[in-house]
């Protein structure tokens, strides 16, 4: 049926990804607003049963092929391109995750239509689709009206709550034939599991997280001292991990852990979307950053415009003396 809204139903290692439900929730809104149906598109090999949890969609298009058994963006884009040529949906929402990363770009290039990256919202404004794309590490946003018949949209995690895209109903499934080469010039050989870290940061109640603003490996100690005083652990954003100042097991964000502690102290972290997706659901977020425009202040409950290396020692000191007081009062 022409003009429908499609959602690429991402799955990884035999499980539908949470972002798929987020996109189904968003897609449902868009489909309702333009008077179309919502269809989930499930690509893979022998994964038909995964369609059962996609009941938020009116129906599921299932594309099964051996070349789709593993995440190979080129093959996924090719399969989607031929389905889109045949069925001409109004829009397709594609998760912007490490699993589906380049699919939107490749798909649009193959179809010779535009692609819009890093969307956090899609709305109907004055009868036209309008998307909001996040640019410059979260410091700017662009409103774009997708011009082409099939709008190809890469959607950031967190666009809608995943629970809004879950449904108990089992959707109708339609199998679509795919014509792909059996072999690809890109092949997944195996997965390497993360080396177990000393702690699992996703299980900590208090996290003190450091970013580029911590300036040096030596200064990470300032965060460790605060974490120690609060009974928590230290973690970090991508640049700190890439510098080798903290091990990979302490990374929060797109390629790392998703954390929901009671307290998340973001020290010297700007708040790029890749980091925010990993920590935005923390109960209490306190951000310290010298840049008053840092996007982290848009997700934090309390903010301090200052150098993290000045505030951390003062806070550690204060926490220690408060705890000491409390202890002596109790004694």
């Amino acid at each position: 049926m022409a003009g429908n809204v499609w959602v690429l139903a991402e799955h990884w290692r035999s499980k539908i990804s949470d972002i798929t439900y987020e996109l189904l929730a968003l897609g449902k809104e868009v489909a309702t607003n333009i008077g179309a149906e919502l269809q989930a598109v499930l690509l893979g090999h022998e994964v038909r049963e995964l369609a059962q949890s996609l009941g938020a969609a009116n129906s599921v298009l299932y594309l099964d092929h051996v070349a789709l058994a593993n995440p190979v963006p080129e093959s996924f884009a090719q399969a989607l391109a031929s389905a889109i040529r045949a069925r001409k949906p109004r829009a397709i929402l594609i998760p912007l995750t490490n699993v589906s990363w380049e699919i939107g770009t490749l798909l649009a290039a193959q179809l010779e239509v535009g692609y819009i990256n890093a969307c956090k919202d899609v709305r109907l404004v004055e009868g036209k689709l309008q998307v909001r794309s996040v640019l410059y590490g979260g410091k700017m946003e662009a409103l774009v009206n997708p011009a082409q018949s099939t709008a190809i949209l890469g959607i950031l995690p967190g666009a809608r709550p995943a629970d809004h895209g879950r449904a108990a109903t089992v959707p109708m499934l339609e199998e679509v034939t795919v014509d792909l080469a059996e072999t690809s010039s890109v092949q997944l050989k195996r997965y390497l599991e993360p080396e177990p870290g000393d702690i699992d940061i996703s299980k900590q109640e208090v996290l003190v997280s450091v970013g580029r603003g911590i300036q040096s490996r030596e200064n990470v100690r300032l965060a460790e001292e605060l974490a120690g005083a609060l009974g928590g652990a230290v973690c970090g954003s991508r640049p700190v991990i890439d510098q080798g100042w903290l091990p990979l097991s302490r990374q929060v964000g797109k390629s790392g852990a998703v954390v929901k502690p009671k307290l998340y102290v973001a020290a010297g972290i700007s708040g790029a979307p890749e980091h925010v997706e990993g920590m935005k659901n923390s109960d209490l977020i306190i951000a310290i950053n010298s840049d008053p425009q840092a996007p982290i202040f848009n997700v934090a409950r309390y903010g301090i415009t200052a150098d993290a290396i000045d505030v951390l020692p003062a806070l550690t000191e204060m926490v220690r003396s408060r705890k000491k007081e409390a202890k002596s009062r109790a004694a």
Binding site: E102, N117, S185, Y191, A272, L284, F297, L315
Partner: protein, 261 residues
Amino acid sequence: MKIIVLLKMVPDVVEELEVAADGQTLDTEFLRLIANELDNHALEEALLLKEKYSGTVTVVALDAPEVDDALFTALAKGADQALKITDGDSAPSTLSGAYRLAQALSTVPGLLPVDLILTGAQAIDDLDGMTSPLVAHFLRLPQLGIITQVSVNSVAGVATVLREFPGGVRGEYEIQLPAVLGIQAAEKPPRYVPVSRVQVAMKSRVIESVHVPTAADGGVGLSPVEEMLKPEVTEHAQMLQGSPEEVANQLCEVLAGRGLL
């Protein structure tokens, strides 16, 4: 082994960004451009591969303010050749930029064939695509992004690469050469080069300017930006003021109130 690194200049987001009077683009008056951070990782990975397997590293960039600094820095770090593509759009989109880069690679004598084309897995101004898959598409080469490790088997004509997946899992892929790789992080942090060595490079090395006629955007009509704006803020943080000791005191009140002390 022959490696090409694609380098793109992007706004330094440490500086404050403002919207231009047209309401659709960035105000360029106070804009400072720097090499895209992940492109620096791509350069580092290329230099590491050169050290491991020997070969050459050619850095290619579209002309932009401050691009010479970035290219001389790349030469000072160990790149063998730096190429600047001139006469283009002053502010190309990722898509039109990738198209021009692909055009340059296939028309400038001596650039292709190549074993690997490396670039950043993403850039902070990617609105209409990502450079790595687009260049691969235009050159009809295999590609993979979010790469953190590369090793090459030239005899078999393949590279083994690691791609990041969620939760710290990595996928080991085999990709046929030549290939385009979107680098997320080099195996070591990008090397530091002192300003004095960049200045030496400025005196002793040349950036080759290559004229590539401006072309369309690869046949794709771009959706125009209707409006550029600072993020809509529903709930901005409550900002605490004062000396470090004063804000520490206020924070402790908050933490105590929530039973976190």
